[in-house]
């Protein structure tokens, strides 16, 4: 089966390209990136601010049940062309990943299908590799914590 989401990350480069074909008309795909309530649903984070315009800014935040901030990110929108292109910076607060530059290109395939091309540029190869490994590392941490918990139950 053809994979819908593809990640292209060449060894030794400080960029990645994520592509995805959607079973959605272009306008709906683009709307999912611009309506705060919709962004919140699929990104799983709260949208504190989202100004869809050149020189606009954005800020997302995720908190736990007690209100502790688990994740906060912000950036500036450099280019905003409806149904075509968003260029923005992305900075994860309190993380050592520095600021990344994102080129989002939206393309119509047919009347009912569309495609997103997300080109992300990082400050260095090392930071790119760290970001790429993050979901795997979190998985390992979770497994490790569960293992620790299991071990302490035995004692």
């Amino acid at each position: 089966m053809e994979r819908k989401t593809k990640v292209h990350a060449e060894e030794g480069k400080q960029e990645i390209v994520i592509t995805r074909a959607f079973d959605l008309p272009l306008e709906l795909l683009f709307k999912a990136y611009t309506e705060p309530r919709i962004v919140e649903q699929w990104m799983g984070t709260k949208v504190l601010n989202l100004e869809n315009k050149k020189h606009g800014s954005w800020q997302f935040e995720t908190t736990d049940a007690k209100g502790n901030v688990l994740f906060r990110a912000n950036g500036t929108i450099h280019e905003f062309i409806p149904n075509q292109r968003i260029v923005r910076t992305f900075e994860m607060e309190n993380a050592a990943f520095d600021i990344q530059l994102e080129y989002l290109e939206f393309e119509q395939l047919t009347a009912q299908t569309s495609k997103l091309n997300m080109h992300v540029i990082y400050k260095s190869v090392a930071i790119r590799d760290q970001v790429l490994k993050l979901p795997f590392a979190q998985g390992i941490d979770m497994a490790h914590n569960r293992l620790q918990a299991a071990l302490s139950n035995l004692n």
Partner: protein, 107 residues
Amino acid sequence: MNLRRDVFQAIADPTRRAILLLVASQSMTAGAIASNFNTARPTISKHLQILTQCQLLEQEQNGREVHYYINAEKMKEVADFIEPFRKMWDERFNKLEAIMKEFKPKQ
């Protein structure tokens, strides 16, 4: 290609990742591995079987005991660990697609 996907499916499971983490430092018998988990022994055996099938673990007969150890070569093959990253985006985009399919513009 199929084998590669199997490897990623193998490491997608938290118990199997914990097993790899355990065995990474020293080779161990199935019993010693199972004693680290609350999970039933047959379940751990099943996980060991999957890890062995996709060659992340190898078996070595040691007298009457079978020891499991990490296949470093195979682990290196998945060392870029991009798959969980791809999966994270794939899941987000699946959600986006599902939400927008239900989307009705306000009258």
